[in-house]
Amino acid sequence: MPKVSLTVNGKPVSVEVENRTLLVEMLREQLRLTGTHVGCDTSQCGACVVHVNGASVKSCTILAVQCEGTEVLTIEGLAAPDGTLHPMQEAFREYHALQCGFCTPGMVMSAIDLVQRNPQGLSDREIREGLEGNLCRCTGYHNIVRAIAAAQVVMHGKASELPRAAE
């Protein structure tokens, strides 16, 4: 069986995988990082999004062996070691951008990449378009869009604190 060596959430790991092992299978079943979810097996839902070398990737749609030498970031690696949440996680909490939470890891990882790729800032419409690869069956998306709009302000250094949600 091939061995793949990569960095996951800042830690170097080496894992024996099958040729066909998907990145998400390696993360969930071998590394036990079950924060990354599987909502489909058809590349549609986006619950499985992680970052590979900083770019958001559906981890069900890439083989583990393709990730040799890469840096993978999952939802578990986002918060600071002292537990301080990433501004996007904080914004999802503040804006109640989740109900069941199943789509949330993928939403958060996609949203961070979306914001990072757009330093000029995104309109609500652009946020909605940017999330077309992520499905949520609970929220109706409104609060997800609000959370991302708020988080981008902090992520681009335009405010030091997250704008609070209206009561």
Partner: protein
């Protein structure tokens, strides 16, 4: 589809890691029974409904996408996946029925040869004469046609089952994601595996999301139990997402025409409802009871409508078996009634709240016998 060449002679048997391949014919040869339907309904004329057999594995005809044709047991999941792709059966494509209207057409192909017209049953409830008389003197009739579409439960935690057999005692154990372990033990022992109930132990530990979709006796539960006995080894099955989409029982799937008779003050005089309810390709454990007993009997809602008549045809089609899901029938009745009352208010130029106020069952009239609820 009709099976031309069975999976029995498949090259999958010799694939790496494969322990066994079983087909529907193998199970039938061992006198394994069919999945029973445990809640029956009677036709208008008092005759029993059509209950065609539901083999655990399809034998010669596959009736819906997701109808299982073979069981493959392998040492590891990847080996099982690989080998399953080599299950070589050949199929003749038969005409399929995707809608109830098409299934009821004269001359439609038959889902089950023994069920003429694809009609599972034809049921009714209420006083048709009283309803007709009320419509004859109504000032206003509000009408609604509603398609309550099928929905796929798709729990976050897919269904799974592990069977085990103790050769020393002859006892079977099943761990299953079931909302209904006692009934599953009864149905599986008495109707499917034909083994005494005291030799079966069923555990439902971590069930996951259910809302009805894990309340039926599913083929996989019987299969892993039986296969564990055959192989003298534990056998485990876990649905992947695609399997969940294809083989969890969907809910709803009613097509309904309704009309409400009102007087000039917006008081409800009578309700008449005609429903087609899809049963899918086979009768799942509780399917027949949902449209009549769990839906039609709720048609009075919270209103004093004095006369109600509901007619219902349950139909076989080539979709997956439909059964109870979240509220099971009651949301179908409630949605219908709410929509119909809104339409009546709108068409009469009345306020939606006021029209309801005029028709509520008064508090001091409770307990209240509606014309739809069974006594």
């Amino acid at each position: 589809m009709r099976m031309r060449k069975s999976a029995a002679s498949t090259p999958a048997r010799s694939a790496p890691g494969v322990i066994a391949v079983f087909t529907g014919a193998d199970m039938a040869a061992e006198k394994i029974g069919v999945l029973p339907c445990s809640w029956q309904v009677k036709n208008k004329d008092g005759t029993p409904i059509a209950e065609p057999p539901h083999p655990v594995l399809a034998i010669s005809k596959v009736r819906h996408v997701g109808d299982p044709v073979a069981v493959l047991v392998a040492e590891t999941k990847p080996q099982a996946r690989d080998a399953a792709e080599r299950i070589a059966s050949e199929w003749e494509v038969l005409p399929a029925l995707a809608s109830m209207e098409a299934a009821l057409d004269a001359g439609a192909p038959l889902v089950h040869d023994e069920v003429p017209g694809n009609l599972c049953y034809d049921w009714h409830l209420g006083d048709e004469g009283a309803v007709d008389a009320a419509f004859a003197k109504a000032c206003k009739v509000a009408r609604l046609e509603l398609f309550n579409n099928p929905l796929i439960p798709n729990a976050m935690e897919p269904r799974c089952a592990v069977g085990d057999y103790d050769a020393a005692t002859g006892d079977y154990t099943l761990w299953t994601t079931s909302q209904n372990p006692h009934v599953i033990r009864l149905l599986k022992g008495a109707f499917v595996l034909n083994v005494p109930e005291h030799t079966l132990c069923v555990f439902a530990a971590d069930v996951g999301g259910g809302f009805g979709s894990k309340i039926y006796h599913n083929a996989e539960e019987a299969i892993v139990t039986w296969a564990a006995g055959k192989l003298k080894r534990p056998v485990k099955w876990t649905a992947d997402r695609t399997e969940s989409f294809r083989s969890d029982m969907p809910g709803r799937d009613h097509v309904t025409q309704a009309k409400l008779a009102l007087d000039d003050q917006g008081r409800f005089l009578a309700l008449r409802v005609r429903t087609l309810a899809n049963m899918g390709a086979y009768l799942s454990s509780f399917a027949p009871c949902v449209p009549p007993y769990l839906s039609a009997t709720l048609l009075a809602g919270v209103y004093t409508t004095p006369a109600i008549y509901a007619e219902l045809k349950a139909v076989f089609t080539n979709t997956g078996p439909v059964d109870a899901y979240r509220g099971a029938g009651r949301p179908e009745a409630t949605l219908l009634l709410k929509r119909l009352v809104d339409i009546a208010a709108h068409e009469m130029g009345m306020d939606r709240v006021e029209i309801r106020r005029r028709n509520f069952i008064p508090k001091d009239a409770c307990p209240y016998q509606t014309p739809a609820a069974l006594q």
